[in-house]
Symmetry: C2
Subunit: 190 residues, 2 copies
DNA sequence: ACACGAAACGGACCGGCGGTCCGGTTGATG
DNA sequence: CATCAACCGGACCGCCGGTCCGTTTCGTGT
């Protein structure tokens, strides 16, 4: 694939920005792609050429927001990055996700409803899941790591995050996740 | 509220049956209310008068399917019903839900996407959640019972159930849920 | 500087769906 | 049997995701 043309790149950026703004503006309300296109000062066709579908748009936006964490995980310093013991990596990762989720409630909600059917296909979700499953597998080889990983990611469901942070702030979410994780992967685990 | 007229009751039943049939027929694919109405041999208006909205329809259907469990919980014999120690009730309840979910994957999926935004408002979901939160609160008073209850219910997410039962059958789901529950509420807990 | 083809643009257009409305029909009641 | 509220059906509405195609713009080779 050759490099993207300058106008194309500019429009992609404009569309992502517009989506963010509308998300911040209207909260978790449904946002129409017409609205996104209008705000970006772009035709609707352009939105679809750049992102393929509603789903693709929100996946891209989430991927962008998650890029920092992703980089930290597979190349950054411990405990998030490689090198630390699995238990520390698990806790650090979940902590990071809690922060991300709390700061992006609207995006998470939009992403959920856009990807509803194929949540498990979303690249970002998969990455997170695989990372978690790997760690859980090391910590508790006898458990169904795949399953546990999915459940742990359930902590960052939009509605749930809204509730938790609504009464108790990010700290409540962080604490609850941390508590659960330490229960699943107790101190005793290597 | 006075009793329902005979034709009204008949139509409500026809609509619920038609929905079930379409669910069984087309799996988790999106089902339009036009299709439901057509199959029930009824006008679309009737569907809305009876159930208020797409959401209402699927909520009603789920409530119907869950009625047996509901009755067993607040009036049946232990360990599902009152009387047994919380830990046994917890495990029995989750086991029951696993069975229900495995048998109603399509309905669960439809219900999820129909209630997406207000999952936490759904009467059935609330009932389940409150029951779980109560038990968890007894077993681990120091934990965030509300949060844990939501996560446990995450076990019955449509997509997840599909995956689990797809490779391993109901037993895999049952085992995984049971394992997790015993971890969260260990033997030592009273 | 210019010409030229590929790539991108935008907005009219389409089909489908959830939900509403209202003129006609039906079932309970006395 | 008369009466009337409740109910029925399906035409209708507005919205939205997604497509299409005539037009414009960008980058490259000359």
């Amino acid at each position: 694939m050759a490099a993207e043309r300058a106008d194309a790149a500019r429009n992609r950026e404009a569309i992502l920005r517009a989506t963010e703004e509308l998300l911040a503006l209207h909260g978790p309300e449904r946002i129409s792609l017409d609205a996104v296109a209008a705000r970006a000062g772009v035709g609707k066709g352009t939105v679809f050429r750049r992102f393929g579908s509603r789903t693709g748009l929100f996946q891209s936006l989430l991927a962008e927001r998650a890029a920092r964490i992703r980089a930290a995980i597979d190349g950054g310093p411990p405990p998030l990055g490689p090198g630390a013991p699995p238990r520390d990596r698990l806790l650090a990762f979940l902590d990071e996700l809690a922060g991300l989720a709390a700061k992006n409630i609207a995006l998470i909600a939009a992403h959920e409803q856009a990807c509803a059917a194929d949540k498990h296909q979303d690249p970002t979700y998969r990455r997170w899941h695989d990372h978690l499953a790997g760690l859980v597998g090391q910590l508790r080889p006898e458990a169904d790591a795949e399953f546990v990983a999915h459940l742990l990611l359930g902590s960052f469901d939009g509605e749930l995050v809204r509730r938790m942070t609504g009464s108790g702030g990010v700290d409540r979410l962080r604490a609850a996740v941390r508590d659960l994780a330490t229960t699943v992967a107790p101190e005793s685990a290597r």
